[in-house]
Amino acid sequence: MRDVVDTVLGFARTLRHAGVAASPDRVEAMLAAVGALDVLDATAVYWAGRLTLCGSPDDLERYDAAFTAWFGGEVPRRTRPMQEEKPQLAAMAPLEAGSAAGEESEDVPDVAGRASPDEVLRHRDVAELTVAEREHLRRLFALLVPASPMRPSRRRRPDAHGTVHASRTVRRALHDGGEVTRLLHRRARPRPRRVVLLIDVSGSMGPYADALLRFAHAAVQAHPVATEVFTIGTRLTRVTREMRLRDPDRALAASGTAIPDWSGGTRLGEVLKAFLDRWGQRGTARGAVVVICSDGWERGGTEVLAEQMARLRRLAHAVVWVNPHKGREGYQPLTGGMQAALPSVDHFVAGHSMAAFEELAGVISRV
């Protein structure tokens, strides 16, 4: 029996390295499951582990790999392919790199005399900020608490007005000796409407991705249950879990690890389709406010994008498109992707400065 426990514990460790959160209570459940089945039967052990240790379809593939690695006798591979990209995230996480070193000393003192530095910084294009300014902006982001849009829910609460709350009325009547002395009411309780942020992390969005992820972090922190964050590029990555970490820098670093296509190309249409197939149509986008943060630079054909945007529009409550370039003077939405997407967009806003992000927060809460 000792051997079984050791083997299972070792396997659980392998599984954790592979990225499946095999928590101790789950491992305990696996031991019980193995006990209820045949310990010597490999398939029984396989199912005992799979049923107890996994918690989502994403886990299954990793589980299979870990199972062959561990019970096939191979040494578990400790290095995950994603870890190799780790150095990229913090260092190459857009806002760090590519800062204009030359303007560092000239700009800031200059503007300090005219207006409060905060005020000026709020309107500056985040792509042109210096390292010090970005640091300052980071603190401003911490103060941003996007209000959530609300929707009426099926759940109701006692209220002075609204429909008659029969059970409460009668319950009170029971207290009053069976006499209905007054009617009590209830009405629908508003609930936060789901907000889904799709953030383009491809190369062309590089200078803005960090700021957008910070905005997403602020949104998730304000309403953890009602906010979903995905990154789009060459593929779709869900980073909601990572964004729930309190500390924005840790959250960004964690999501950086999760994003395999940081600063790659964009296949907006296909990735949007992947989002709608896997999440959107099932419910994530239904009745939600979907915010797409992208410059609309599409590598693939624009027909797919147009088609998927129309599909998204039918599912979502409102579609907001954030394009950092819109903040530039004389901007025209001329890229093919933007042209294809605009007919299905309810609100087209800029997302290049702190002030623009505040405006975006306003747009999201009002739709």
Partner: protein
């Protein structure tokens, strides 16, 4: 140290015997699903089933109830589902009547006794969760848990962790034998980890070709072998087409039934095209399939 459950208590010697029993009801499980169901019985753990719509999640609960001879209680989840609809509610109308009747009989002397009589079991309306605990052993199906909201999930957690329901005015109701709980989800939203952790998790896939033919033959005995095979093959092809809604087993059965109703003995491309509405539920999907070569799709 490993808790082992006597096979007698479960009623089946192992997953294989359970699979055989399920097959006798017309539900054909694969090995993983049979193991999952067996462990759910042996370990008294809820079974959390996820998978595409129409792969037989709900049907499993019905088949399990049938083979164990237990009554099935079903709770269909929706947003705003409240304790009064899922657990229990007091029958206020009858309570009022009772009070008036007591008044009329001038039996209002002892107020405490009167109040106690108001919260008697006969005034308690049992909803599915309470019914499943009272009528033990039973099978409890919590269908489409992803449609309910977080609040509901939280109190379901309470019920599923120790299979008791406490009613402030009445007392605690405990299941003699924990019910066999089957939770299903279509993944319209992520169910909370705390709930999943207490369950056995199983992802149900579309069956392979042979199993699907067997299911069609079993469920629809009137359909010819030829038609069943061709419908299964065409359905499998449709699933590879990257459609908005790939057809499940339920759709394959609907399609076979539709074809059979029209008197088809095999899958004729024309009849197939006319009955596509039974398998494809989106205009875009239907248009795509219509635009394709029917011969290649339906075996000509």
């Amino acid at each position: 140290m490993l808790p082992t459950v006597a096979a007698a208590e479960v009623g089946f010697a192992g997953p294989d015997e359970l699979a055989a029993a399920l097959e006798s009801t017309g539900y054909l499980p694969d090995q993983g699903l049979a193991t999952a169901a067996y462990l759910a019985l042996a370990m008294h753990r809820p079974l959390f089933l996820e998978g595409e719509a129409g792969v037989g999640k709900t049907a499993l609960a019905q088949a399990l109830a049938q083979i164990t001879g237990r009554p099935l209680y079903r709770l269909q989840c929706y947003e705003g589902l409240e304790a009064s609809q899922a657990l229990y509610d007091w029958d206020f109308g009858r309570q009022l009547l009772h009070l008036r009747a007591a008044e009329a009989a001038h039996a209002t002397g002892d107020t405490e006794k009167l109040e106690a009589s108001l919260y008697d079991r006969r005034f308690l309306l049992a909803r599915p969760l309470l019914q499943a605990l009272e009528d033990s052993p039973s099978v409890l199906l919590v269908d489409e848990i992803d449609r309910a909201d977080d609040e509901f999930e939280a109190f379901l957690l309470e019920v599923l962790s120790d299979f008791t329901i406490s009613i402030p005015e009445f007392g605690t109701i405990r299941a003699v034998t924990p019910p066999l709980v089957v939770l299903t989800s279509n993944r319209t939203r992520e169910v909370h980890d705390a709930l999943k952790r207490r369950c056995l998790y199983h992802w149900l896939q579309h069956p392979d070709f042979d199993r699907e033919v067997a299911i069609l033959r079993r469920r629809l005995p009137d359909v010819t072998e030829q038609l069943a095979r061709e419908v299964a093959r065409a359905t499998a092809t449709l699933r590879t087409l990257d459609l908005l809604k790939p057809p499940g087993v339920a759709e394959a059965m609907d399609w076979a039934t539709a074809l059979h109703t029209l008197g088809a003995r095999d899958l004729d491309p024309d009849v197939a095209a006319r009955t596509l509405g039974a398998v494809l539920k989106y205009r875009e999907d239907t248009e795509r399939v219509h635009a394709m070569d029917r011969g290649a799709l339906f075996g000509g």
